[in-house]
Amino acid sequence: MQQFNVYKIGPEIKISGLDLSFTNSSLFMVLSATAIALFLFFGSKDKRIIPNKVQLISELLYNFVAKMISDTAGSKAKPYFPFIFSLFMFVLLCNMIGMLPYAFTVTSHIIVTLIMALFIFIAVTIIGFLKHGFKYLSIFIPKGVPAILLPLITIIEIISYLSRPVSLSVRLFANMMAGHTMLKVFGGFVISLGVLGGWLPLSFSVALTGLEILVAFLQAYVFAILTCIYLNDALNLHH
């Protein structure tokens, strides 16, 4: 579909065989990153006691993420707040900008979400090993398992651990792509049914747009909260 096409903008840049050209995908990533930076800059510029709207929204977002981290990962995860906050904001803004007409949805490509998920996965593994050393491997050995079953359970635990980045990335990508495809399909129905029958799919597509905005927020939330949960497993062994 045309809305998922990636094309080059400007000259082709090739560095040692790697194609590093600027694409529309990179353009929308830059756009959402600048939008976050500008918004939070104006939100925190003049710190009023009675906040204006921009300040209110940025404070709400801050509190939302701070509460999420302290609820799921405890006080030990406080140093990782900047990382999780930027992750949440980036996914949220990419999803939301994708909802605008003619915009490109960065998160509807699995390579983008997979890179983010793999980064989280590797970072969490490194944090776990740094904090606990080789004792971190004990997350693969649950407590109170009979010795005969231990090899089997350990293999299952390892598969479960390795499935984390896959489920994290596939969830975000599938939700965004399916949503946009569904909107496109219903939009196509409106055209093909014409003035007489087109009103029903049109109303559906209005409702779906609302649902998609909800999904865009929820997926960003789920992405961030799962990062917190994985971080919790790495910081506090055995719960």
Binding site: I156, S160, S163, S167, V170, F217, L218
Partner: protein, 93 residues
């Protein structure tokens, strides 16, 4: 000095109140987020298990066997994942 002590106690009371309200707030968004989570959790583990089985099969030249075993192990891991997140959801309630 007395004023400062007074302020400190008031701050403590306010902080307690804030924490209590923060705990009592129900998170309406989170249950839908959790519902979206469960499906992919199951599928991803099956996929990862199958891929591991495929790679190991290519290594050891035992064509269909390891992929079958690891498919089922992946399914078990997926169910385990779902049970874990369901437990986490119940703890939050």
């Amino acid at each position: 000095m007395k004023n400062q002590d007074d302020f400190k106690t008031r701050l403590k009371i306010a902080k307690n109140k804030f924490q209590k309200t923060a705990l009592n707030e129900d998170e309406k968004g989170s249950f839908m987020g959790n519902a979206f989570k469960l499906g992919t959790e199951l599928v991803a583990a099956v996929g990862v298990g199958t891929i591991i089985g495929f790679i190991l099969d290519n290594w050891f030249d035992t064509k269909p066997w390891l992929i079958i075993i690891f498919f089922f192990l992946g399914a078990i891991a997926g169910i385990l994942n779902v049970i874990r997140s369901a437990k986490r959801m119940q703890k939050n309630d």
